[in-house]
Symmetry: C2
Subunit: 295 residues, 2 copies
Protein backbone atom coordinates (compact mmCIF):
# COMPACT_ATOMS: atom_id res chain seq x y z
CA UNK A 1 0.00 0.00 0.00
CA UNK A 2 1.15 3.49 -0.79
CA UNK A 3 1.18 5.82 2.21
CA UNK A 4 -0.20 9.32 1.65
CA UNK A 5 2.42 11.94 2.55
CA UNK A 6 0.66 14.97 4.03
CA UNK A 7 2.75 17.86 2.72
CA UNK A 8 2.80 20.76 5.17
CA UNK A 9 4.73 22.98 2.80
CA UNK A 10 2.08 22.73 0.08
CA UNK A 11 -0.88 23.01 2.48
CA UNK A 12 0.58 25.93 4.41
CA UNK A 13 1.27 27.75 1.14
CA UNK A 14 -2.40 27.28 0.19
CA UNK A 15 -3.52 28.62 3.56
CA UNK A 16 -1.22 31.63 3.30
CA UNK A 17 -2.36 32.34 -0.21
CA UNK A 18 -6.02 32.27 0.87
CA UNK A 19 -5.32 34.60 3.78
CA UNK A 20 -3.49 37.02 1.47
CA UNK A 21 -6.64 37.22 -0.67
CA UNK A 22 -8.73 37.93 2.45
CA UNK A 23 -6.21 40.54 3.61
CA UNK A 24 -6.30 42.40 0.31
CA UNK A 25 -10.12 42.35 0.31
CA UNK A 26 -10.09 43.76 3.82
CA UNK A 27 -7.78 46.53 2.67
CA UNK A 28 -9.76 47.31 -0.46
CA UNK A 29 -13.20 47.18 1.14
CA UNK A 30 -12.54 48.69 4.56
CA UNK A 31 -9.03 50.14 4.43
CA UNK A 32 -8.03 47.85 7.31
CA UNK A 33 -4.62 46.17 7.38
CA UNK A 34 -4.07 43.53 10.10
CA UNK A 35 -1.04 44.18 12.25
CA UNK A 36 0.92 41.66 14.26
CA UNK A 37 3.21 42.69 17.13
CA UNK A 38 5.98 40.22 17.94
CA UNK A 39 7.84 40.60 21.22
CA UNK A 40 11.30 39.07 21.60
CA UNK A 41 13.09 38.96 24.94
CA UNK A 42 16.76 38.02 25.21
CA UNK A 43 19.16 36.82 22.54
CA UNK A 44 18.33 33.16 21.98
CA UNK A 45 19.44 32.38 18.42
CA UNK A 46 16.49 30.11 17.51
CA UNK A 47 13.98 32.60 18.90
CA UNK A 48 15.50 35.32 16.72
CA UNK A 49 15.05 33.14 13.65
CA UNK A 50 11.43 32.30 14.57
CA UNK A 51 10.56 35.95 15.16
CA UNK A 52 12.11 37.00 11.87
CA UNK A 53 10.20 34.26 10.01
CA UNK A 54 6.89 35.26 11.58
CA UNK A 55 7.44 38.87 10.65
CA UNK A 56 8.50 38.04 7.09
CA UNK A 57 5.49 35.76 6.60
CA UNK A 58 3.08 38.40 7.87
CA UNK A 59 4.58 41.03 5.55
CA UNK A 60 4.55 38.62 2.59
CA UNK A 61 0.75 38.27 2.74
CA UNK A 62 0.15 41.99 3.06
CA UNK A 63 -0.11 42.39 6.82
CA UNK A 64 1.88 44.80 8.95
CA UNK A 65 4.29 43.28 11.44
CA UNK A 66 6.36 45.06 14.04
CA UNK A 67 8.93 43.54 16.36
CA UNK A 68 9.73 44.76 19.85
CA UNK A 69 12.95 43.68 21.51
CA UNK A 70 13.96 43.49 25.14
CA UNK A 71 17.31 42.48 26.54
CA UNK A 72 17.63 39.81 29.23
CA UNK A 73 18.43 42.56 31.72
CA UNK A 74 15.02 44.22 31.22
CA UNK A 75 12.12 43.47 33.59
CA UNK A 76 8.74 41.73 33.49
CA UNK A 77 7.14 45.10 34.25
CA UNK A 78 8.71 46.80 31.25
CA UNK A 79 7.34 44.06 28.97
CA UNK A 80 3.89 44.35 30.56
CA UNK A 81 3.93 48.11 30.05
CA UNK A 82 4.55 47.64 26.34
CA UNK A 83 1.78 45.03 26.17
CA UNK A 84 -0.64 47.47 27.83
CA UNK A 85 0.19 50.05 25.17
CA UNK A 86 -0.32 47.48 22.41
CA UNK A 87 -3.61 46.34 24.01
CA UNK A 88 -4.83 49.93 23.76
CA UNK A 89 -3.50 50.55 20.25
CA UNK A 90 -6.42 50.11 17.83
CA UNK A 91 -3.99 49.44 14.96
CA UNK A 92 -2.38 46.42 16.64
CA UNK A 93 -4.56 43.35 16.16
CA UNK A 94 -2.35 40.49 17.29
CA UNK A 95 0.26 40.32 20.06
CA UNK A 96 2.61 37.42 20.67
CA UNK A 97 5.54 36.91 22.99
CA UNK A 98 8.17 34.54 21.62
CA UNK A 99 8.80 31.69 24.08
CA UNK A 100 10.76 30.48 25.96
CA UNK A 101 11.62 33.52 28.05
CA UNK A 102 14.88 34.14 29.91
CA UNK A 103 14.62 32.81 33.48
CA UNK A 104 14.20 36.17 35.22
CA UNK A 105 10.91 36.93 33.43
CA UNK A 106 7.49 35.87 34.75
CA UNK A 107 5.87 34.06 31.82
CA UNK A 108 2.39 33.84 33.39
CA UNK A 109 2.24 37.53 34.30
CA UNK A 110 3.35 38.49 30.80
CA UNK A 111 0.98 36.18 28.90
CA UNK A 112 -1.97 37.02 31.19
CA UNK A 113 -1.46 40.73 30.51
CA UNK A 114 -2.24 40.32 26.79
CA UNK A 115 -5.79 41.37 25.84
CA UNK A 116 -7.50 37.98 25.18
CA UNK A 117 -8.94 39.48 21.98
CA UNK A 118 -5.37 40.03 20.68
CA UNK A 119 -3.85 36.79 22.00
CA UNK A 120 -3.18 35.18 18.60
CA UNK A 121 -1.03 32.40 20.12
CA UNK A 122 -4.10 31.28 22.11
CA UNK A 123 -2.11 30.93 25.34
CA UNK A 124 -4.11 33.28 27.60
CA UNK A 125 -6.18 31.21 30.09
CA UNK A 126 -9.41 32.76 28.80
CA UNK A 127 -8.71 31.47 25.28
CA UNK A 128 -7.44 28.13 26.60
CA UNK A 129 -10.73 27.85 28.49
CA UNK A 130 -12.79 28.67 25.39
CA UNK A 131 -11.19 25.76 23.48
CA UNK A 132 -11.98 23.44 26.39
CA UNK A 133 -15.58 24.76 26.49
CA UNK A 134 -16.09 24.01 22.79
CA UNK A 135 -16.15 27.68 21.76
CA UNK A 136 -12.68 28.11 20.29
CA UNK A 137 -11.61 31.66 19.38
CA UNK A 138 -7.82 31.43 18.94
CA UNK A 139 -6.61 27.83 18.76
CA UNK A 140 -2.85 27.48 19.45
CA UNK A 141 -0.95 27.24 16.15
CA UNK A 142 0.13 23.58 16.32
CA UNK A 143 -3.27 22.00 17.10
CA UNK A 144 -4.90 24.44 14.66
CA UNK A 145 -2.39 23.47 11.96
CA UNK A 146 -2.91 19.74 12.53
CA UNK A 147 -6.67 20.12 12.20
CA UNK A 148 -6.21 22.10 8.96
CA UNK A 149 -3.84 19.47 7.53
CA UNK A 150 -6.23 16.61 8.28
CA UNK A 151 -9.13 18.48 6.66
CA UNK A 152 -7.21 19.38 3.52
CA UNK A 153 -5.82 15.86 3.22
CA UNK A 154 -9.45 14.62 3.31
CA UNK A 155 -8.92 12.51 6.40
CA UNK A 156 -12.19 12.09 8.25
CA UNK A 157 -11.58 12.17 12.00
CA UNK A 158 -15.15 12.09 13.36
CA UNK A 159 -15.75 8.97 15.43
CA UNK A 160 -12.08 8.01 15.26
CA UNK A 161 -9.82 6.89 18.09
CA UNK A 162 -7.05 9.49 18.48
CA UNK A 163 -4.07 8.81 20.73
CA UNK A 164 -1.96 11.84 21.61
CA UNK A 165 1.52 11.33 23.05
CA UNK A 166 2.59 14.32 25.14
CA UNK A 167 0.74 16.69 27.46
CA UNK A 168 2.29 20.11 26.86
CA UNK A 169 0.16 23.23 27.18
CA UNK A 170 0.80 24.20 23.57
CA UNK A 171 0.31 20.82 21.87
CA UNK A 172 -0.94 17.71 23.70
CA UNK A 173 -3.55 19.19 26.03
CA UNK A 174 -5.15 21.59 23.51
CA UNK A 175 -5.15 18.81 20.87
CA UNK A 176 -7.23 16.69 23.23
CA UNK A 177 -9.55 19.55 24.16
CA UNK A 178 -10.10 20.35 20.49
CA UNK A 179 -10.56 16.93 18.93
CA UNK A 180 -12.93 15.65 21.65
CA UNK A 181 -15.46 18.41 20.95
CA UNK A 182 -18.86 17.68 19.47
CA UNK A 183 -18.07 19.77 16.38
CA UNK A 184 -17.72 19.09 12.68
CA UNK A 185 -14.25 17.73 11.78
CA UNK A 186 -13.49 16.82 15.41
CA UNK A 187 -15.81 14.57 17.48
CA UNK A 188 -13.16 11.93 18.26
CA UNK A 189 -12.43 9.71 21.21
CA UNK A 190 -9.16 11.04 22.64
CA UNK A 191 -6.47 9.53 24.83
CA UNK A 192 -3.53 11.51 26.21
CA UNK A 193 -0.40 9.46 27.01
CA UNK A 194 2.78 10.85 28.54
CA UNK A 195 5.91 10.04 30.53
CA UNK A 196 3.92 8.33 33.30
CA UNK A 197 1.91 6.10 30.92
CA UNK A 198 2.91 2.50 31.55
CA UNK A 199 2.70 0.92 28.11
CA UNK A 200 2.19 3.50 25.39
CA UNK A 201 2.08 0.95 22.57
CA UNK A 202 -1.04 -0.65 24.09
CA UNK A 203 -2.80 2.62 23.29
CA UNK A 204 -1.16 3.48 19.97
CA UNK A 205 -1.75 -0.02 18.56
CA UNK A 206 -5.52 0.58 18.72
CA UNK A 207 -5.44 4.16 17.43
CA UNK A 208 -6.87 5.31 14.11
CA UNK A 209 -4.73 8.44 14.41
CA UNK A 210 -1.57 8.88 16.48
CA UNK A 211 -0.27 12.38 17.22
CA UNK A 212 3.27 12.24 18.58
CA UNK A 213 4.51 15.26 20.55
CA UNK A 214 6.84 13.78 23.11
CA UNK A 215 10.17 15.25 21.96
CA UNK A 216 12.09 11.97 21.52
CA UNK A 217 13.74 11.21 18.18
CA UNK A 218 12.14 8.30 16.26
CA UNK A 219 10.17 7.25 19.35
CA UNK A 220 7.11 5.89 17.54
CA UNK A 221 8.03 2.80 15.54
CA UNK A 222 5.92 0.79 13.11
CA UNK A 223 5.42 -2.09 15.56
CA UNK A 224 3.56 0.36 17.84
CA UNK A 225 0.83 1.33 15.37
CA UNK A 226 -2.12 -0.19 13.54
CA UNK A 227 -2.09 -0.89 9.82
CA UNK A 228 -3.73 1.94 7.84
CA UNK A 229 -3.59 4.38 10.72
CA UNK A 230 -2.74 8.07 10.29
CA UNK A 231 0.46 9.41 11.87
CA UNK A 232 0.95 13.07 12.79
CA UNK A 233 4.51 13.89 13.82
CA UNK A 234 4.89 17.04 15.91
CA UNK A 235 8.46 16.37 17.03
CA UNK A 236 11.53 18.29 15.90
CA UNK A 237 14.70 16.68 17.28
CA UNK A 238 18.35 17.15 16.39
CA UNK A 239 20.33 13.98 15.83
CA UNK A 240 24.06 13.84 15.11
CA UNK A 241 24.88 13.52 11.42
CA UNK A 242 28.48 13.93 10.30
CA UNK A 243 27.46 13.97 6.65
CA UNK A 244 25.88 17.40 7.28
CA UNK A 245 27.89 20.60 7.46
CA UNK A 246 26.05 21.52 10.67
CA UNK A 247 26.88 18.13 12.17
CA UNK A 248 23.21 17.30 12.77
CA UNK A 249 19.91 16.73 11.00
CA UNK A 250 16.29 17.20 12.11
CA UNK A 251 14.05 14.20 12.74
CA UNK A 252 10.59 13.85 14.23
CA UNK A 253 9.18 11.74 17.07
CA UNK A 254 8.21 9.14 14.48
CA UNK A 255 10.45 6.55 12.86
CA UNK A 256 9.29 7.77 9.47
CA UNK A 257 10.98 5.32 7.10
CA UNK A 258 9.56 2.27 8.89
CA UNK A 259 6.00 3.62 8.57
CA UNK A 260 5.98 4.10 4.80
CA UNK A 261 3.85 1.45 3.09
CA UNK A 262 2.22 0.40 6.38
CA UNK A 263 0.25 3.49 7.42
CA UNK A 264 -2.52 5.23 5.50
CA UNK A 265 -1.06 8.73 5.84
CA UNK A 266 1.83 10.45 7.59
CA UNK A 267 3.35 13.90 8.02
CA UNK A 268 7.10 14.18 7.34
CA UNK A 269 9.70 16.08 9.41
CA UNK A 270 10.76 18.57 8.25
CA UNK A 271 7.99 19.79 5.95
CA UNK A 272 4.97 18.52 7.89
CA UNK A 273 3.38 20.15 10.92
CA UNK A 274 6.19 22.72 11.26
CA UNK A 275 5.34 24.91 8.25
CA UNK A 276 1.67 24.98 9.29
CA UNK A 277 2.27 26.86 12.53
CA UNK A 278 3.13 30.26 11.06
CA UNK A 279 0.25 30.00 8.59
CA UNK A 280 -2.19 29.40 11.45
CA UNK A 281 -0.70 32.28 13.44
CA UNK A 282 -1.48 34.51 10.46
CA UNK A 283 -5.00 33.05 10.27
CA UNK A 284 -5.49 33.88 13.97
CA UNK A 285 -4.19 37.41 13.34
CA UNK A 286 -6.64 37.85 10.47
CA UNK A 287 -9.49 36.50 12.63
CA UNK A 288 -8.48 38.80 15.49
CA UNK A 289 -8.71 41.77 13.14
CA UNK A 290 -12.22 40.77 12.09
CA UNK A 291 -13.36 40.23 15.69
CA UNK A 292 -11.96 43.58 16.84
CA UNK A 293 -13.55 45.50 14.01
CA UNK A 294 -16.91 43.77 14.38
CA UNK A 295 -17.39 45.13 17.88
CA UNK B 1 -13.31 -10.22 46.93
CA UNK B 2 -15.01 -7.53 48.93
CA UNK B 3 -15.54 -4.29 47.01
CA UNK B 4 -14.73 -1.10 48.89
CA UNK B 5 -17.76 1.21 48.95
CA UNK B 6 -16.58 4.82 48.77
CA UNK B 7 -19.06 6.62 50.97
CA UNK B 8 -19.68 10.17 49.77
CA UNK B 9 -21.85 11.01 52.75
CA UNK B 10 -19.12 10.19 55.24
CA UNK B 11 -16.32 11.82 53.22
CA UNK B 12 -18.29 14.98 52.48
CA UNK B 13 -19.17 15.31 56.17
CA UNK B 14 -15.44 15.12 56.98
CA UNK B 15 -14.66 17.79 54.40
CA UNK B 16 -17.41 20.09 55.67
CA UNK B 17 -16.29 19.59 59.24
CA UNK B 18 -12.71 20.53 58.32
CA UNK B 19 -13.87 23.63 56.47
CA UNK B 20 -16.00 24.68 59.45
CA UNK B 21 -12.86 24.57 61.62
CA UNK B 22 -11.02 26.71 59.06
CA UNK B 23 -13.95 29.13 58.88
CA UNK B 24 -14.06 29.62 62.62
CA UNK B 25 -10.29 30.17 62.72
CA UNK B 26 -10.66 32.78 60.00
CA UNK B 27 -13.34 34.51 62.02
CA UNK B 28 -11.41 34.37 65.29
CA UNK B 29 -8.04 35.40 63.85
CA UNK B 30 -9.07 37.96 61.22
CA UNK B 31 -12.76 38.65 61.76
CA UNK B 32 -13.45 37.48 58.21
CA UNK B 33 -16.55 35.43 57.40
CA UNK B 34 -16.74 33.93 53.87
CA UNK B 35 -19.91 34.86 52.03
CA UNK B 36 -21.51 32.98 49.16
CA UNK B 37 -24.01 34.61 46.81
CA UNK B 38 -26.37 32.21 45.05
CA UNK B 39 -28.37 33.48 42.08
CA UNK B 40 -31.54 31.65 41.06
CA UNK B 41 -33.38 32.51 37.86
CA UNK B 42 -36.86 31.17 37.14
CA UNK B 43 -38.94 28.69 39.10
CA UNK B 44 -37.51 25.26 38.28
CA UNK B 45 -38.38 23.06 41.24
CA UNK B 46 -35.08 21.11 41.35
CA UNK B 47 -33.05 24.31 41.07
CA UNK B 48 -34.92 25.74 44.05
CA UNK B 49 -34.04 22.66 46.10
CA UNK B 50 -30.36 22.83 45.06
CA UNK B 51 -30.11 26.52 45.90
CA UNK B 52 -31.72 26.01 49.30
CA UNK B 53 -29.32 23.13 50.05
CA UNK B 54 -26.27 25.15 49.10
CA UNK B 55 -27.38 28.02 51.27
CA UNK B 56 -28.17 25.76 54.23
CA UNK B 57 -24.82 23.99 53.95
CA UNK B 58 -22.92 27.26 53.83
CA UNK B 59 -24.73 28.55 56.90
CA UNK B 60 -24.22 25.26 58.75
CA UNK B 61 -20.43 25.59 58.61
CA UNK B 62 -20.45 29.22 59.71
CA UNK B 63 -20.38 31.02 56.38
CA UNK B 64 -22.79 33.69 55.23
CA UNK B 65 -25.01 32.86 52.28
CA UNK B 66 -27.40 35.11 50.45
CA UNK B 67 -29.76 34.17 47.65
CA UNK B 68 -30.86 36.46 44.84
CA UNK B 69 -33.91 35.56 42.81
CA UNK B 70 -34.97 36.58 39.32
CA UNK B 71 -38.16 35.64 37.54
CA UNK B 72 -38.13 34.15 34.05
CA UNK B 73 -39.44 37.47 32.74
CA UNK B 74 -36.31 39.34 33.93
CA UNK B 75 -33.41 40.02 31.56
CA UNK B 76 -29.81 38.93 31.11
CA UNK B 77 -28.79 42.56 31.69
CA UNK B 78 -30.53 42.74 35.07
CA UNK B 79 -28.66 39.62 36.21
CA UNK B 80 -25.35 41.03 34.96
CA UNK B 81 -26.00 44.28 36.81
CA UNK B 82 -26.43 42.37 40.06
CA UNK B 83 -23.26 40.36 39.35
CA UNK B 84 -21.31 43.59 38.79
CA UNK B 85 -22.46 44.83 42.18
CA UNK B 86 -21.47 41.55 43.81
CA UNK B 87 -18.08 41.61 42.02
CA UNK B 88 -17.45 45.01 43.61
CA UNK B 89 -18.76 44.05 47.05
CA UNK B 90 -15.72 43.22 49.23
CA UNK B 91 -17.92 41.14 51.56
CA UNK B 92 -19.08 38.76 48.83
CA UNK B 93 -16.42 36.10 48.21
CA UNK B 94 -18.18 33.56 46.02
CA UNK B 95 -20.80 34.01 43.31
CA UNK B 96 -22.67 31.21 41.59
CA UNK B 97 -25.54 31.13 39.15
CA UNK B 98 -27.72 28.03 39.46
CA UNK B 99 -27.94 26.24 36.10
CA UNK B 100 -29.75 25.53 33.84
CA UNK B 101 -31.16 28.95 33.01
CA UNK B 102 -34.53 29.66 31.40
CA UNK B 103 -34.15 29.83 27.61
CA UNK B 104 -34.34 33.60 27.26
CA UNK B 105 -31.17 34.18 29.30
CA UNK B 106 -27.66 34.25 27.80
CA UNK B 107 -25.68 31.76 29.90
CA UNK B 108 -22.27 32.72 28.47
CA UNK B 109 -22.74 36.45 29.00
CA UNK B 110 -23.90 35.86 32.56
CA UNK B 111 -21.12 33.42 33.56
CA UNK B 112 -18.41 35.50 31.85
CA UNK B 113 -19.49 38.56 33.83
CA UNK B 114 -18.54 36.93 37.15
CA UNK B 115 -15.18 38.10 38.53
CA UNK B 116 -12.93 35.04 37.94
CA UNK B 117 -11.66 35.44 41.52
CA UNK B 118 -15.22 34.90 42.82
CA UNK B 119 -16.23 32.17 40.33
CA UNK B 120 -16.53 29.33 42.86
CA UNK B 121 -18.24 27.01 40.35
CA UNK B 122 -15.09 27.22 38.18
CA UNK B 123 -17.11 27.79 35.01
CA UNK B 124 -15.58 31.10 33.84
CA UNK B 125 -13.28 30.46 30.82
CA UNK B 126 -10.30 31.93 32.71
CA UNK B 127 -10.68 29.33 35.47
CA UNK B 128 -11.43 26.55 32.96
CA UNK B 129 -8.19 27.53 31.20
CA UNK B 130 -6.20 27.47 34.46
CA UNK B 131 -7.23 23.84 35.08
CA UNK B 132 -6.18 22.93 31.55
CA UNK B 133 -2.85 24.76 32.07
CA UNK B 134 -2.11 22.78 35.25
CA UNK B 135 -2.61 25.78 37.56
CA UNK B 136 -6.06 25.04 38.97
CA UNK B 137 -7.67 27.76 41.10
CA UNK B 138 -11.36 26.77 41.30
CA UNK B 139 -11.97 23.23 40.10
CA UNK B 140 -15.63 22.56 39.22
CA UNK B 141 -17.37 20.80 42.10
CA UNK B 142 -17.85 17.35 40.56
CA UNK B 143 -14.26 16.74 39.36
CA UNK B 144 -12.96 18.32 42.59
CA UNK B 145 -15.20 16.03 44.65
CA UNK B 146 -14.10 12.93 42.76
CA UNK B 147 -10.44 13.75 43.33
CA UNK B 148 -11.11 14.28 47.04
CA UNK B 149 -12.99 10.96 47.33
CA UNK B 150 -10.18 9.02 45.65
CA UNK B 151 -7.57 10.60 47.94
CA UNK B 152 -9.50 9.93 51.11
CA UNK B 153 -10.31 6.37 50.03
CA UNK B 154 -6.52 5.86 49.62
CA UNK B 155 -6.78 5.02 45.95
CA UNK B 156 -3.55 5.87 44.18
CA UNK B 157 -4.28 7.22 40.72
CA UNK B 158 -0.79 8.24 39.54
CA UNK B 159 0.25 6.25 36.48
CA UNK B 160 -3.21 4.71 36.16
CA UNK B 161 -5.35 4.37 33.04
CA UNK B 162 -8.51 6.45 33.56
CA UNK B 163 -11.41 6.16 31.12
CA UNK B 164 -14.01 8.92 31.36
CA UNK B 165 -17.42 8.42 29.74
CA UNK B 166 -19.02 11.76 28.87
CA UNK B 167 -17.67 15.09 27.65
CA UNK B 168 -19.74 17.74 29.42
CA UNK B 169 -18.15 21.06 30.36
CA UNK B 170 -18.81 20.50 34.05
CA UNK B 171 -17.74 16.85 34.40
CA UNK B 172 -16.05 14.91 31.57
CA UNK B 173 -13.79 17.55 30.04
CA UNK B 174 -12.53 19.06 33.33
CA UNK B 175 -12.00 15.53 34.75
CA UNK B 176 -9.66 14.82 31.84
CA UNK B 177 -7.88 18.16 32.10
CA UNK B 178 -7.34 17.61 35.82
CA UNK B 179 -6.29 13.98 36.02
CA UNK B 180 -3.82 14.20 33.09
CA UNK B 181 -1.75 16.88 34.84
CA UNK B 182 1.76 16.22 36.06
CA UNK B 183 0.74 16.85 39.67
CA UNK B 184 0.62 14.80 42.84
CA UNK B 185 -2.55 12.64 43.07
CA UNK B 186 -3.26 13.05 39.34
CA UNK B 187 -0.68 12.15 36.65
CA UNK B 188 -2.88 9.59 34.87
CA UNK B 189 -3.34 8.53 31.28
CA UNK B 190 -6.82 9.74 30.34
CA UNK B 191 -9.29 8.74 27.66
CA UNK B 192 -12.56 10.58 27.02
CA UNK B 193 -15.34 8.49 25.42
CA UNK B 194 -18.76 9.81 24.42
CA UNK B 195 -21.77 9.29 22.17
CA UNK B 196 -19.59 9.08 19.04
CA UNK B 197 -17.19 6.49 20.48
CA UNK B 198 -17.60 3.27 18.53
CA UNK B 199 -17.03 0.58 21.14
CA UNK B 200 -16.87 2.01 24.63
CA UNK B 201 -16.25 -1.34 26.32
CA UNK B 202 -12.96 -1.75 24.42
CA UNK B 203 -11.74 1.25 26.41
CA UNK B 204 -13.39 0.54 29.76
CA UNK B 205 -12.18 -3.09 29.81
CA UNK B 206 -8.58 -1.87 29.99
CA UNK B 207 -9.21 0.92 32.51
CA UNK B 208 -7.88 0.96 36.06
CA UNK B 209 -10.50 3.59 36.88
CA UNK B 210 -13.76 4.24 35.01
CA UNK B 211 -15.64 7.50 35.59
CA UNK B 212 -19.15 7.30 34.16
CA UNK B 213 -20.93 10.59 33.42
CA UNK B 214 -23.06 9.80 30.43
CA UNK B 215 -26.56 10.16 31.93
CA UNK B 216 -27.90 6.70 31.06
CA UNK B 217 -29.30 4.49 33.82
CA UNK B 218 -27.20 1.39 34.57
CA UNK B 219 -25.17 1.89 31.37
CA UNK B 220 -21.88 0.47 32.65
CA UNK B 221 -22.21 -3.25 33.33
CA UNK B 222 -19.73 -5.65 34.91
CA UNK B 223 -18.82 -7.28 31.57
CA UNK B 224 -17.47 -3.89 30.43
CA UNK B 225 -14.86 -3.47 33.17
CA UNK B 226 -11.64 -5.05 34.40
CA UNK B 227 -11.45 -7.09 37.60
CA UNK B 228 -10.22 -4.97 40.54
CA UNK B 229 -10.85 -1.69 38.76
CA UNK B 230 -12.28 1.39 40.50
CA UNK B 231 -15.71 2.68 39.44
CA UNK B 232 -16.80 6.28 39.90
CA UNK B 233 -20.50 6.83 39.15
CA UNK B 234 -21.44 10.44 38.35
CA UNK B 235 -24.89 9.66 36.96
CA UNK B 236 -28.20 10.48 38.62
CA UNK B 237 -31.10 9.00 36.65
CA UNK B 238 -34.75 8.49 37.52
CA UNK B 239 -36.17 5.06 36.82
CA UNK B 240 -39.79 4.08 37.33
CA UNK B 241 -40.44 2.26 40.61
CA UNK B 242 -44.02 1.66 41.68
CA UNK B 243 -42.93 0.51 45.12
CA UNK B 244 -41.93 4.11 45.87
CA UNK B 245 -44.42 6.79 46.80
CA UNK B 246 -42.86 9.14 44.23
CA UNK B 247 -43.17 6.46 41.55
CA UNK B 248 -39.43 6.50 40.80
CA UNK B 249 -36.05 5.86 42.33
CA UNK B 250 -32.59 7.30 41.59
CA UNK B 251 -29.91 5.16 39.97
CA UNK B 252 -26.49 5.95 38.56
CA UNK B 253 -24.85 5.32 35.19
CA UNK B 254 -23.38 2.13 36.66
CA UNK B 255 -25.13 -1.21 37.13
CA UNK B 256 -24.07 -1.16 40.78
CA UNK B 257 -25.26 -4.54 42.02
CA UNK B 258 -23.42 -6.44 39.27
CA UNK B 259 -20.13 -4.75 40.17
CA UNK B 260 -20.05 -5.70 43.85
CA UNK B 261 -17.47 -8.42 44.51
CA UNK B 262 -15.79 -7.87 41.13
CA UNK B 263 -14.38 -4.35 41.36
CA UNK B 264 -11.88 -3.01 43.88
CA UNK B 265 -13.92 0.05 44.81
CA UNK B 266 -17.09 1.81 43.74
CA UNK B 267 -19.18 4.87 44.58
CA UNK B 268 -22.90 4.27 45.21
CA UNK B 269 -25.83 6.35 43.89
CA UNK B 270 -27.25 8.03 45.85
CA UNK B 271 -24.64 8.74 48.54
CA UNK B 272 -21.52 8.78 46.35
CA UNK B 273 -20.32 11.67 44.19
CA UNK B 274 -23.52 13.70 44.74
CA UNK B 275 -22.95 14.69 48.37
CA UNK B 276 -19.36 15.76 47.55
CA UNK B 277 -20.36 18.58 45.24
CA UNK B 278 -21.72 21.01 47.83
CA UNK B 279 -18.75 20.30 50.12
CA UNK B 280 -16.35 21.23 47.30
CA UNK B 281 -18.34 24.36 46.50
CA UNK B 282 -17.84 25.42 50.12
CA UNK B 283 -14.14 24.59 49.87
CA UNK B 284 -13.90 26.80 46.77
CA UNK B 285 -15.73 29.58 48.61
CA UNK B 286 -13.31 29.31 51.52
CA UNK B 287 -10.33 29.33 49.11
CA UNK B 288 -11.79 32.34 47.27
CA UNK B 289 -11.99 34.22 50.56
CA UNK B 290 -8.34 33.47 51.29
CA UNK B 291 -7.22 34.51 47.77
CA UNK B 292 -9.18 37.78 47.90
CA UNK B 293 -7.86 38.74 51.30
CA UNK B 294 -4.27 37.84 50.43
CA UNK B 295 -4.11 40.49 47.72
Amino acid sequence: MKSQIIDGKVISAQVRSEISVDVSKLKNDYNIIPKLAVILIGDDASSQVYVRNKQKSALSIGMYAEDYKFSSSDTTESVINLIKDLNNDPYTNGILVQLPLPENFNKEKIIYSIDPLKDVDGLHPFNVGLVSLGQPRFIPATPFGISEMLNRANINVEGSNIVIIGRSNIVGIPLGNLFVQKMKNFNSTITICHSRTKNISEYTKNADIVMAAIGRANFLTVDMVKKNSVIIDVGINRVEDNSKKSGFRLVGDVDYESMIGFVKAITPVPGGVGPMTIAMLLKNTYNATIIQNRK
